[in-house]
């Protein structure tokens, strides 16, 4: 059954703040095998003009995805979350995420489509720091695959 189009444009309340830690950035950079010193060495980051170590470009997804999950698990929307796969992902950065940031995410449903039995939901997450500065926008396309015919 097609999802309720009236959810398009719905914005959810901002998430509680996520505090970005230096060691979490280090852990993430090591997990993706990225030895760039800007992720682990504050002096190297400062030499590039950053006030502290910065996070790799995709780091913020851990935060925005949690916010997006809240949206797609909204029982009123009725998406079959167990069948959801990640379709597209895009980020637009105002500045890099950095250690010490306290980030909140405001998620909005940008689009709902049904194609060949698949439900496709586009979620935009606006990420702000505690001073209200816009840091990054994340667009996540989630596809709930059609259930197989019984």
């Amino acid at each position: 059954m097609a999802l309720d189009q009236s959810f398009v444009g719905r914005t959810y309340p901002p998430t509680p703040a996520y505090e970005v830690g230096r060691e979490k950035i280090r852990e993430f950079a090591e997990a993706v095998g990225d030895a760039n010193p800007a992720y682990v060495d504050p002096e190297a980051a400062k030499a590039l003009g950053h006030p502290d170590v910065i996070a790799p470009p995709t780091f913020v997804f851990s935060i925005t995805f949690r916010a997006a999950s809240q949206v797609v698990q909204d029982p009123q929307l009725g998406l079959d979350y167990s069948r959801v796969v990640h379709g597209d992902q895009k980020f637009a950065y105002v500045r890099p995420v950095r250690a010490g940031d306290r980030l909140t995410v405001t998620s909005t449903i940008e689009g709902i489509k049904s194609m060949a039995g698949n439900d496709i939901v586009d979620v935009r997450g606006e990420v702000h720091d505690e001073s209200g500065e816009h840091v990054v926008t994340a667009w996540t396309k989630l596809v709930a695959r059609a259930a197989e015919e019984a």
């Binding site: 090591e30 990225d34 470009p57 995709t58 997804f61 851990s62 990640h86 597209d88």
Partner: protein, 142 residues
């Protein structure tokens, strides 16, 4: 935000140094912990097969994180990336052996934009199949 690569030094078609990124089951367990994505399709073969996958697959976001390294290593400052988007077209299948899988990433300048910005078009493959589609980054050069 100071990329070490100069805008004047590139033109449309300029290729970035290609890189190969290994990914084993251990890599995926580590990435799961670091990212907080513990979906069992990324570490539990039995579960992956039950949901119709040929084997354990890498997190799409892991592949996305590797692909942008071709840009960040080249540009010098990872903070110079202004936009980055991908489509997850095929999974990276990671067998349970010491070799695992390899993600091959190449990139070239797709367009020179205003304000010292360039668009880099990335191609990511694994086992000969394209795993990311429409993979593009916009980066600010010096």
């Amino acid at each position: 935000m100071t990329a070490s690569m100069a805008y004047e030094s590139v033109e449309v078609g300029t290729e970035l140094p290609a890189q190969s990124f290994p990914v084993t089951r251990a890599t995926l367990v580590r990435y799961a912990g670091a990212s907080g994505d513990f979906n069992p399709i990324h570490w539990n073969e039995k579960f992956a097969r039950e949901v119709g996958l040929p084997d354990v697959i890498a997190h799409g976001m892991f592949t996305m994180a590797e692909a942008i390294r071709v840009v960040t290593d080249w540009a010098g400052d990872p903070g110079a990336v202004v936009e980055y988007g991908v489509r997850f077209t095929r999974p990276v299948i990671v067998p349970n052996d010491e070799t695992g899988a390899t993600v091959e990433v190449s990139g070239k300048i797709g367009a020179k934009l205003d304000d010292n910005l360039v668009r880099v078009d990335l191609v990511a493959t694994s086992a000969g199949a394209k795993v990311l589609g429409m993979s593009r980054a916009v980066v600010r050069l010096a």
